[in-house]
């Protein structure tokens, strides 16, 4: 089957029920998307499917044929950061950083739909994304900083 990831079409030969996460990581080598729990409890594997943040560990690859998939690698690069990534760098959010791909993908969808989320909206939207290092205070600040960056852009 064919899937489109970061504007590139890939032909893959896998079972339809293989979660998108493992297609990305093991078949396509896109390891920016992380495995944390496999049961939609941590958000580390969050990617965008047609602009919507989904848990790739619970998304059978057959469901996303024909869709436009964006991973953290497709959002921005070290040389061309997305505004949300820029905010994450400015606020120095990461500790171990393992959750942050998922956090950034989740926050990006929030800011796309809601340019200036309230504290409550940030908490509600980000609550599925665990950070075992406890960077939540900085995540909140970075979402707000990103909101400002995107407004000014």
């Amino acid at each position: 089957m064919d899937i489109t990831v970061n504007n590139q079409v890939h032909s893959i030969d896998v079972e339809g029920d293989m979660p998108l996460l493992w297609v990305l990581r093991d078949e396509l080598g896109l390891t920016g998307t992380k495995y944390g729990c496999g049961v939609a409890a941590c958000g580390a594997c969050t990617v965008h499917v047609d602009g919507v943040a989904v848990r790739s560990c619970q998304t059978p690859v057959s469901d996303v044929q024909g869709a436009k998939i964006t991973t953290i690698e497709g959002l921005g690069t070290p040389d061309a950061l997305h505004a949300v990534q820029q905010a994450w760098v400015d606020l120095q959010v990461a500790q171990c950083g393992y959750c942050q791909s998922g956090q950034i993908m989740q926050a990006t969808e929030l800011l796309t739909n809601n340019a200036a989320p309230s504290d409550q909206e940030i908490d509600d939207w980000m609550n599925g994304n665990l950070c075992r290092c406890g960077t939540y205070p900085r995540i909140r600040a970075a979402v707000k900083a990103a909101s400002t960056l995107m407004k000014d852009a």
């Binding site: 690069t77 120095q92 959010v93 500790q95 940030i122 609550n127 290092c133």
Partner: protein, 746 residues
Amino acid sequence: MSKLGKYTRRTFMVGAAAIAGGVAFGVYRAKTPFENPLGRDLPIGSATFNPWVLVDATAVTLVLPHADLGQGVHSLQAALIAEELDIEIDQVQTTFGAPDKAYYNGGISGEMVPFMPTDDSRTAEFARSFAGGAIKAFMPMMMTGGSSTVPDSYLKLRQAGAMARETLKAAASAQTGVPVSNITTKNGAVHLPDGEIIPYTALAKRAAELDPVQDVSLRPSSQWRLLGKPMKRTDIVAKSTGTQEYGIDVKAKDMVYATVRVNPAKGSGANSFDDTTAKSMRGVLRVLKIKNGAAVVADNTWRAIQAVNAIEFDWKPSTYPAEQADHWAAVEASFVEDKLNGTPRDVGAVDQAQGTEVIAEYRSPYVAHAPLEPLSATILVKEDRVDIWTGHQIQLAVEEKIAAITGHDVSNVHLHNMFIGGSFGHRLEFLNIEQAAEIGNAMRGTPVKLTYSREEDFAQDFPRHITMGRGRGRVDQGRVVALDLELAAPSVMASQMGRMGINMPMPDAMLHSGAWENPYHNLENLRIRSYKADALAPVSSWRSVGAAPNGFAFDSLLDELIHAAGADPLEERIRLMGHDTSVKVLEAVGEMSNWGAPLGPNKGRGVAFVLSFGVPVAEVVEVTNTSKGIKIDKVWVACDVGQVLDPVNFENLVQGGVVYGLGHAINSEITYSGGHADQRNFWDAEGMRIAQCPEIFVKGLENASKIRGIGEPPVPPAAPALANAIFAATGQRIREMPFNKFIDFV
């Protein structure tokens, strides 16, 4: 031959390749105006070469041995060197370096002595230096843990930077004839009086011919360019773009993927297993019998996990009590004389004290480490060498464990340490390493990536030990006059060291750490005793180790006494405290939180103080008792590590420590049924999520006489401060974690 012998002054091994024609600088002799001669870093006359700085024609490379678990030490170690080397962080390359005894951790051993960490007396200092020397002689450890990176690195990495700088200046002098005193350094280059600028890289060859300059003095903090100011972490861009490569992300040509399932009754074996279905599943290459279970090797991690789930195992029973209640019963039964582990404090006469008595009992459960990156390791075993890519905190031991399994000489086993997606103590253990070695050995010539499922990671975690505290004390005329705390737990050090083949029959300081060091010198009757329960389920160091459970018992008891006395929780702690630095920490948290100001309806505040790993930390927690449960609104933290080297990262780590402490206090535990952990994934033990996270305000004071690390110390006061706040808001005293067994949280 030890690996050390392979290093010569002018050749330095990075991985397998010798870099010739460059120059590596290390600390031959640690001698600075600041150093206590008793605490000298290296034995006098030692010719050990400890390379941290490598300059060759193309680059300046900093070799940073401490594992980066997320605490940002990779960046901080680079800054310590760069500060003295007069180079900018973005002008250097960094690497973890190959494991070597030269990178022993000099910060870890200094506190393994029976002196309070706040005791700066000559006797205490001598004992520390002696313990340090003994550890180096008998158990040279290249390891990361115990909040020791900063104490270990603070002097020696700056010295390495200064020696490199001075040697490069000498090289420039030799090359140009300009006297060294007229040469300055800046931005990775020497500057000559006539304006000529020579990059360090252009001086590498010449510098390699010189004996490194050893007598250097370090700059005072007032002259620092980088340290003490907000720094951009070297890993921050990679960690914000998905480009940081962790152990779990390693890719190798023709790599295959594996996962494991071993007996959830940890350490017991399998009677048999049926892998008929698993073997026929798509992508499965091999099913291997490994110690205590099986491994599946496949062409994709998910296929491997699916297949291992399809294996039917007949497990042997656990060697430890099968049911959680029996674990508690064993701990409960250990408050007896012949299990006494130590009486680290006995001041006054607690048994004779007069006044109203308070009696209380506290419990802390097993808790899982559960860093977000599950255990993994990629290994390639060949006839003549083994390479393993993984993140680990005790690097040399990894190579030894592998050599013992594959039969290679340890000098042919090479660990490539990777950035780590969180540890909290999880990567002090070797189960994934040993399994990778078994699998790799069976798959010689093929690189194999082993990934644990989250469920396997929970099932095979060696959690924090369970602890009971039995407290009593007396109050009289509005004051606390006696506090007597007995702690009982299985020995975490014996369990952990046992798995490294080290017998630890001696007392375990972790069974009373976080309780006995609290410098309440004005409390006239104070006794701390600890008891060592028989070994139960295997346990391991969990962020702050004994200090979280012991600090919970100690500070909760103190709070109960203060309330019974009718005193103010902060004022009475300050009155009892006989240690200036700690008093200032308490005063600071009072000021930050505006302690004593009227609160809104249904609100309550608690304060707690725990000194652990030498760091005094005071926290105030504010909660609201809502109709849906307790809401944690705000936390203020004041602590003193002597010197804050990177204020932004410092704040981040303190906030993270509070989140870790609070999250587990309210909702996480590991319990056993039938010898297996009941909790299988984050659904069952999720720690804190963002919606529950309070605002956290941090202040780092710099009055302490020694520099300390901040990874662990913010954790222990979080739980008692919350319990004390809940009491203030509701009148309900919670004496056992997790608190959500007794009260709801929003």
